[in-house]
Amino acid sequence: MTFLESRAMSETPSEVTMLLRRAQAGDAEAAPKLLDLVYQKLHQMAEQKLSHEQEGISIQATVLVHDAYLQLVGANQALDLSDRKHFYILAAKVMRRILIDRARTRRALKRGGPHWKRSTVAMDAVAGPTNQTDILALHEALKQLAELDSRQAEVVEMRYFGGYSVDETADLLNVSPSTVKQEFAAAKAWLYRELSRSS
């Protein structure tokens, strides 16, 4: 039995499912609760997953998100399409936040000078991206991009932080896959320039 299958057994509506429905129905309290729940789940999952792995192994953001969905919602919960979309959009935003928090922690450590100890970074199991992107700078640039072109910023959030494919992103944002491709290409170039400038 695979990891995914083992998690997909619950019959009753999960907490996330309820929260999603409430949020969709306009319940103001539901949204932050939902966010917290997804944040904790993703964070915890990333740590668990990585603690069983060897050093240097990395996992894809998208795998985390899909697993979180299965754990939080359950595979045989008949969620509305719009609820499902809501979750995935939310998850991408959460991933972004988790990564920014991690990066901030690390920057604080760096400011702490040469005396930091390995032990204090145990939390770093959920580390930053393993490729060379500076998450904080990206986050700032993305905020600027959102002002210029909010759809592009959203596409980046989905594609990069959520790790969703072009088709998935198109589906989530209700646009065509070719639009996603084009927006992502332009956004990528724009962000790359902004990041090169700032560094």
């Binding site: 990333a46 990585l50 792995e53 050093e55 240097g56 192994i57 990395s58 996992i59 894809q60 953001a61 998208t62 985390l64 991933m95 990564l99 990066a103 690390r106 920057r107 450590l109 760096k110 390995r118 970074v121 770093d124 199991a125 959920v126 580390a127 930053g128 991206p129 393993t130 490729n131 060379q132 992107t133 500076d134 210029l148 072109d149 980046v156 594609r159 990069y160 932080f161 790790g163 084009q182 927006e183 290409a185 332009a186 990528k188 170039a189 724009w190 962000l191 790359y192 320039r193 990041l195 090169s196 560094s199």
Partner: protein
Amino acid sequence: MAEHPWDEVKEKFNAALSLSLTERELYLKQLSTESTQLHHEVADLLAQHAGANENDFLASLKIGKQTEADLAETIAQFLPTVDTKATGGDAQSLMTLHTQAEIPATSYIGEIGDYQLIEQIGRGGMGVVYKAYQKNVGRTVALKVIAGGSLSSAEDIARFRDEASAAGRLNHPGIVQVYDAGEHEGNHYFSMAYIEGENLASYVGPGKPRLKPKEAARLIEAVCRAVQYAHDHFVIHRDIKPANIMLDKSGQPLLADFGLAKLVGNEGYTQTGQTMGTPNYMPPEQAKGQLELISNRTDVYSLGGTLYALLKGRPPIEAKNLLDTLKKVESAAPETLYFRGSQIPLDLWIICEKCLAKKPDDRYQSAAALAEDLQCFLKGFPISARAVSPWTRLMRWSQRNPLIATLIGTIAATLLIATVVSISFAVKSRADQRLAESNLAMIEKVLDEVLISVSEGDLANDPGTQKVRQRLLRIAQNYFEELSNSHQVSPLRVADAAYLLGRVQSSLGRDDDAHTSLKKALNIQINMLKDAEDQIGALTQIAKTHKEFSRIAEKSWSNRGVFESSDAAKQALADYLKHEKACVQYRELALALGPTNEELHRLLANSQMGLGLGHIQQGIWTPTSDGFSQAESFLLQSQATWDELLAKTPNDPTRLKDSARGHAAKAKLRESQAAAFVESNPEKYEELLTESLKLRTIAAKTLEELPTDAVTPEIRLLQANCFQVCAESQVQLQQIDDAIANYEQALAVFRSLLMSSPLVDSYRLGVAQDQFMLSQLLLSKQDHYGYQFVTDFQHTLVDGLTINPRDAVSADLLLDYTKSISVSLVEQGLFQEALNQLEQAKNMLADIPVIKSDKPLIDAVIEKLEVEATKLREQINTEDRTT
């Protein structure tokens, strides 16, 4: 500077991204003529996009376990690290070393701020350069510190700071990256990438090795691109010289030391007028301290000076001391550059001379223009700096097409040997006969591989090859005569050779000779038919010979313009139809014997389409004939075959091409039918035209589906033609914006064709025609880009006249086009603008550098333009008086 609205930038960026690299270049070029700002934005984004992809930027996010090394890396990310970008992806070859270990305290000579000085590596006009280790980032850098360790004056500080800030904004693989600037206990410094390698000064001076001319040109071309980048960012280097051009380990040049860089438009402390820089490479305006004249062309001079020095081994201007040098810069010409027997190509000297002109206006307009010419030199294209002789043109052509050139060379030699053999040719033995046979086989090979394949490629009209081909043809012809009269070779062989000879003769415009040869071939082929073992082959061959006849006839009727129906043209059309019909008949016979042979089906469809096209012409000339309905039925038959064949192998390039041609032919039929209704039935007219537009669009789309390697110049031409005719129909249908878009497409295709074969007139005329139409259409919409296209078509045609001062077609078109633009402007009441266009054409013509005996044609056009201009001036005066 106002930023272009993001949406527009985005749209153009995505459009450019969807194109192939060459098309993208064209697209950008086009864009730059429309809006510099927009072009900059889009080009920058494209560059960023390439950089992003190269560095896997935003590639799928992975979350990994943090290791200590990771953390160090992340920390380093918060510091300015630019070296990986500056290397263009090849971090190892670029000399920025990421040293992991710190340097032991004993091995460095001093410390400035965060930098441990390792050794002094240079001493410049203003500073000392150290190799240093930057502790917090962990990298080796070159650290430039003001000489003496203290500052001489506030002006020095300002200049020093300026250097750093100007250079710091530049981020280009051809420019040494500046990282950081600062002050430490009164020491001003800045750090830049540490380059392990030599600089170009190692190749200048007595006793030093010389670079090969091509290598020198290649290096300077690369430097030009970097300089252009700096100019685009408003930074002028002002001290380009061999010593400032570093070579990295992979041999790529990097421009260093923007020590005199000055922000364009930001005067200030440099006002004192003191001369700076290295006088040997300095242009007069700089030597004289005329700051107001310093421009990007100041750098162009120094780039030329550097190239000169690399070629000659010493700087363009040399004298005993500084003052003498400065004097010489102003007055003396550099030592004569060219002499007979020089190892250095004349073109390179001409390029140097143009850079080293005393007057900035006489130099290349930009570093990019210089780069273009160097590129032309390297690729064997004509350089813009001079008009070229036919012989040089041929040489250049052979540089571009080394394979075919070699082939022509070898085969010309073998043919000469064959001729010698044939003179002593008297049949004494079977050995002689075998020799004769093999000689004939060789001639066929020559005709087929060299003369025909060359003539059918993009060199069809290349004047550079015409002479050689004529000569080869003469040799081949003589030899052929001799052999075929000697009755020593089999008749079929003679027929084959005669057929090929006929094709070559026809391709060289010798139609009468071609007729004779083809007749000979046809007679033999028909006589041999009944005894032939391979009936299908024999029938196919006869059909081919008829096809060749019809090709010759086609030239006579299709070149006369579709509305001009002289008796000779009508006769040619009748001939054409006769031979096409014969062709169809023989192919039908062949097909009856081999009904499963797909190639036979294809060929039959091909000649059915030929018949269709001929009948369209008949319908145009003789409206009472049944030309159109005949055409309709033939085109239907051929289209059916092609659809069927294409369905079997949907991606076959030949079949895609056939299908496109079929659609284009059908479109032509509709256009021709439409013409009859222009006045009598406008609705019918529009309906037919709209249908033809649809068909042509299908044809164009089909051609776009072809894989890149299947796209020959012939197909590009077909494509351009599709776009052009579509645009023409759209003008008729008043769909002006669509027409503009199609003319732009056509222009892009013609331009790329012209770029690869700059001597083919038909490409040049295509470019000019599209530019003319675009200028007309845009001006009619009061769109000012129209003026740009006027300048463009004038340039295109003047280029044609520069290459060939006797090119009457370019001369006529330049006059006609310019006149008609001027007329339309007058109609809009824009008298002065109309006059300007006439004057502009006149000035361009007057600037063509040709010798006097070549001038009559150009002078005549100038005179006619002047007549028009005078008329217009009088008209303007009268208008002024009346108002």
